[in-house]
Structures are given as C-alpha cells and as structure tokens.
C-alpha cells in the first residue's frame, strides 16, 4: 500500500463519522524506485490531506525533512516535488494494519494489500 493510496483511504463502516485518517501500524515497509512525473505529483498535491501525509510518513520513519505545512509555489520546486514523489509513490507498507481512529477497528495489510472487507452489518 502506497502512501498516496493511504491518504485517500477511509473507513466505510456504517455509522462511522470520522474514519479518516486510518492509523498505520506497519511491521514491514519497502521502498521502491518509480519514475518521477513532476506534473502528476504537482496535480495530486492539492488533493492530499497534507497533515495526514506527514503523520503517515512519521509513523513509517520516512519524514525526511518534509515540511509540516505546504510551501507556496511548490509547482516549481523540483526538489520538493521529488521528495513528495518519494513519500507518495515509492514508500510501501507490505505488512501491518490500518486502524480506524474512531472505532479502533483494524484492517489488516498483507503482501501490500489492505483488506477492507466488511462484516455483516458494518
């Protein structure tokens, strides 16, 4: 599970109001290399919950001097975009779980795939 996906994932259990952001408890993390696309990263930044991203990076020990608030004029800052690219697309949680901040319900992650299957009534 990449952190870009994590930034978008939310608990969809019925009745849960604040199922975001899901707390990451990772037991295995991998870093891959992926081709850098500045345009895509730049376009995705406004869609992100920046604070959730920073927090996720911290949980994985991958903060790497990312600013806690978005810098203005980031579209032209390639160094910054590359850092964002790395944290969004190159860092992956392989094993662990995601925990709902409201209910505490856990969604396990196995082989990099989060299990979002709900039980009857959820």
């Amino acid at each position: 599970m990449k952190l870009l996906t994590h930034n978008m994932l939310t608990s969809h259990v019925k009745g849960v109001v604040k199922g975001y952001p899901l707390v990451i408890k990772a037991t295995e993390v991998k870093v891959n290399e992926l081709e850098f696309n500045a345009q895509f990263v730049s376009r995705m930044i406004p869609k992100l919950e920046w604070s959730a991203l920073i927090q996720a990076a911290e949980w994985l020990g991958q903060s790497q001097d990312l600013p806690s608030t978005l810098i203005p004029n980031y579209e032209n800052d390639e160094e910054f975009l590359r850092k964002v690219h790395r944290i969004l697309l190159e860092v992956e949680v392989i094993e662990g779980c995601l925990q709902c901040p409201e209910s505490g319900r856990e969604f396990p992650i196995s082989k990099g795939v989060p299990n979002m299957l709900l039980d009857e009534g959820e």
Partner: protein
C-alpha cells in the same frame, strides 16, 4: 461454448479461485479480450490528453486492465474481492496499488479522489444475491453512491458489462441514476452477437455527450447504438406511450378518437393543433 453465466455458479470470491485466476495470466484469448475491452473503456473515459490521471479500477482482478492504464501513463488503484486474483496481480507486478474489497460495500475512499473509473466485466456480479442478507439494489446503490462521491466533479466511470437481460440493465441504471449519475449505455457492434459489447458510461456532476458505439462497416443502417438516460424527464415522449398533452399529435389523436365515437368533429386542416400565442 458454455451458456452458463459465471455469476450464477458461485459468488465472485469463490468463482475466482486459484484455478480460474490462472487463466487470467495464461490463457492468451482471455487476456486479449480483457485488454481490448480495457482499451475501449479508456477511450470512452475521454481523459485530457497527455495528462497522467489517478484512476480507480473496480474489479481489477489480475490487473490486465490496470496494465493498460499504466501503459497509457496513468496511476491507478485497483479494487477486487478475490484474493486469488489479486495474488496473480501481485505476481505480475502490476504498477497500481491493490485493495481487497467488496464493491457492494461501497468504495472506501475520500470524496473527489479519482479522475475517472474503469471496470471490466465486474458490475454484473452485484446483481445477484450471493448471501441471504444481500439485497442487489441496496448493494448497487451503496456502490454507486460511494463511487459518485469519490469521483472528482466532471469525472466519468466506464463499465464494460455483460447484462443478462433488460431487467438487470434497468436495475443497474436505476441505482446509478439514484446515486446522481447521468449517462447511458454505449453498444459496440450491436449487430454481431459475437463482437457486441456493452459499456455503461456514467458522468459525475456534469452532463456529458454520450460517445458513439462502434459499428462494423457492413451495417450502415444507421441503427442507433445508444440509450441515453439523464436526470431530466424527457419532454417529448411519455413513458406510457401516449403523446404529451396539448401537443399537435395529442390534438390530432383526440379528434380521431372523438370521430370514432361518432361525434361531430371539424375536419383537420393545416391549422389543426397549430401553436398559438401565449395569450390564448
């Protein structure tokens, strides 16, 4: 060729076991068909050119459609209910991120996340109740409403489907409309039973122009291969087959009816049912 529909045999997470999943990485015919349909679905998405988009692949399975999305330069998240199929996708090292989920339970993503959605041969699985507690209309609605919310304004969702019958199609489109989508069905090669393909094209937040279905060169009959539905009622056709009240057609029909009843009716002239100025 077997006439049985897979969704009648078992729920998807059971049907798509390891043996079935293997076909999606070994059977070249299956792979070719899936790839072709993925290409057509992306075409129908009409995404802005030369822009890498963030897409959702519903029922991504072994990642065949996802591979095409990656090839065109898009980033994607795939959702599927079968662990066996997702295992194949992992082995094939697809570039998209995978999520194990049941589409009938809703899409677990924040509002406005995706630039578009594709789904190849998956939606018909929602139309069958695999458990006693399943209600297909409820599951369809939960899926479509959550999808509507998670798509960016103006985004499209394209579903390649194998509708069993018109009732199933109506069930699907009714729930999609209820969830706020507009759009319609695009039919490619409507006259070829082998090549015929159905693509449900849905628009989130804006009314779009429905793309034209592909026609084989031999037809040329100009058969309409689209069925568009919108959130607005049609002003021109009454669902019960009668003309809209007070239109020229209605006036002419009513006069005929009264003649049949033996009543005295003025002859029809070029002024019959003519549109009058508002003060009338």
């Amino acid at each position: 060729m077997s006439c049985r529909r897979p969704e009648h045999m078992a729920p998807p997470e059971v049907y798509y076991n390891e043996e079935e999943a293997k076909k999606y990485s070994q059977n070249s015919r299956i792979m070719e068909i899936q790839t072709q349909m993925s290409e057509r679905a992306v075409e129908l998405l009409s995404l802005p050119e030369d822009q890498a988009c963030y897409l959702l692949d519903v029922g991504c399975g072994s990642g065949l459609s996802g591979d095409h999305l990656s090839e065109v330069g898009h980033y994607w998240v795939g959702v599927d209910i079968s662990t066996a199929m997702l295992d194949v996708a992992l082995r094939r090292e697809v570039e998209g991120d995978l999520v194990l989920a049941d589409m009938g339970q809703g899409m677990p993503f924040r509002p406005g996340t995706f630039d578009g959605c594709v789904s190849i041969s998956a939606l018909q699985w929602l139309c069958n109740a695999d458990k006693k507690t399943h209600s297909p209309p409820k599951r369809l609605y939960r899926f479509f409403s959550s999808l509507y919310s998670t798509l960016a304004r103006g985004a499209r969702a394209v579903f390649q489907i194998y509708p069993e019958n018109s009732e199933q199609l109506e069930l699907i489109t009714a729930q999609a409309m209820k969830a706020g989508f507009t759009g319609g069905l695009v039919v490619d090669y409507p006259n070829s039973s082998k090549a015929k393909k159905f693509f449900l094209c849905l628009f989130a937040g804006v009314s779009g122009v429905l793309p034209k279905g592909l026609e084989s060169e031999a037809t040329g009959r100009g058969v309409s291969s689209q069925a568009q539905f919108t959130a607005q009622r049609s002003r021109f056709k009454n669902m019960r087959g009668k003309s809209v009240k007070k239109s020229k057609d209605w006036v002419v029909e009513k006069k005929e009816r009264r003649r049949r009843q033996g009543k005295d009716v003025r002859a029809d002239t070029k002024y019959t049912g003519r549109h009058r100025r508002p003060h009338f």
